[in-house]
């Protein structure tokens, strides 16, 4: 392992320890420090990680959008690697919000799911980014793959503002944001929520960083394969 790789691995290990500690504190806050909510009681404790996952998902897909636009403008593969990495990580948080939502909804609303604007647009977002990853598998040429998926990614991102603003634009089963509203969250609940969001955002950064490394290794493999093929051809001549 080179010195650069060693220092990068050490930095990653340190960051992982820090983020694990942050998440430990967030769990303590969500389960013990935050007071019980009056109407929903213990069930409301799902909110801290459910809502924070939704916000982190939007953050991750915004990184995808930046990566896609920058790739189309500059044609540097690193932007494509960043976008692909952020898609996978965004999908993890998208899945968390899609699954924990119904677990909360069933006892709170009496139904698992409702095809309202917020839930439907979040589900559509999940399908769009799954399609993004599937599309990449269909194209072998790396440059063509990057261009096609970047264009697709820019269009897929159009759903993100719909997800975010749906609770303001339409009447939905999903509750409107109570975070900064008077009578919404108590100061302790708000602190726990903000800290959970910071912890999950830090986790998202580490996950994208790791996934980016994978993409860079994949590129190295592709380059080595081309070199090996070139040498084989030279040997044959």
């Amino acid at each position: 392992m080179s010195v650069e790789n060693k220092s990068s691995a050490a930095l990653q290990a340190l960051a992982s320890i820090l983020v694990s500690a942050m998440i430990g504190i967030a769990i303590y806050g969500a389960f013990i420090w935050a007071p019980n909510e009056k109407t929903m009681g213990f069930l409301q404790r799902i909110f801290y990680f459910h809502a924070a996952s939704g916000q982190v998902m939007i953050l991750a897909f915004s990184i995808v959008f930046i990566g896609n636009v920058c790739y189309l403008l500059r044609r540097k593969p690193e932007w494509d690697w960043l976008a692909t990495s952020a898609v996978e990580v965004g999908l993890v948080f998208n899945t968390i919000s899609l699954v924990t939502g119904p677990i909360w909804a069933k006892p709170a609303w009496g139904i698992w799911w409702d095809w309202d604007a917020r839930l439907t647009s979040t589900f559509v977002l999940w399908i769009l980014y799954i399609a993004y990853l599937l599309l990449r598998r269909l194209i072998e040429n790396p440059e063509r793959r990057a261009v096609v998926s970047s264009v697709f990614g820019v269009f897929a991102f159009l759903d993100v503002p719909l997800v975010y603003f749906s609770i303001w634009w339409w009447r939905t089963q999903h509750p409107p944001p109570l975070i900064f509203k008077p009578g919404g969250l108590s100061p302790e609940m708000l602190k726990v929520f903000m800290f959970t969001m910071a912890s999950l955002s830090a986790l998202m950064v580490i996950m994208i960083w790791q996934r980016y490394k994978l993409e860079s290794l994949r590129h190295t493999v592709e380059e080595l394969k081309i070199e090996a093929e070139y040498r084989n051809d030279g040997g044959a001549r």
């Binding site: 069930l43 968390i96 677990i103 790791q210 996934r211 994949r218 190295t220 080595l224 090996a228």
Partner: protein, 49 residues
């Protein structure tokens, strides 16, 4: 309302999916590292020959 089971199920799902994803990335990175090493060795052998 208590719904302890729902809260446990939600958090188990969160940690479950995060761990599965982490494991999947680590496995893919390790496979690619092995492939890089194998290709480098093949190229080195080619150079020597």
């Amino acid at each position: 309302m208590n719904h302890f089971g729902s809260v446990v199920a939600a958090y188990m799902f969160i940690w479950g999916i995060l761990m599965v994803y982490q494991f999947s990335v680590s496995r893919r990175v390790s496979n690619l590292r092995q492939e890089v090493e194998r290709l480098k060795e093949t190229l080195e052998r080619g150079k020597r020959n």
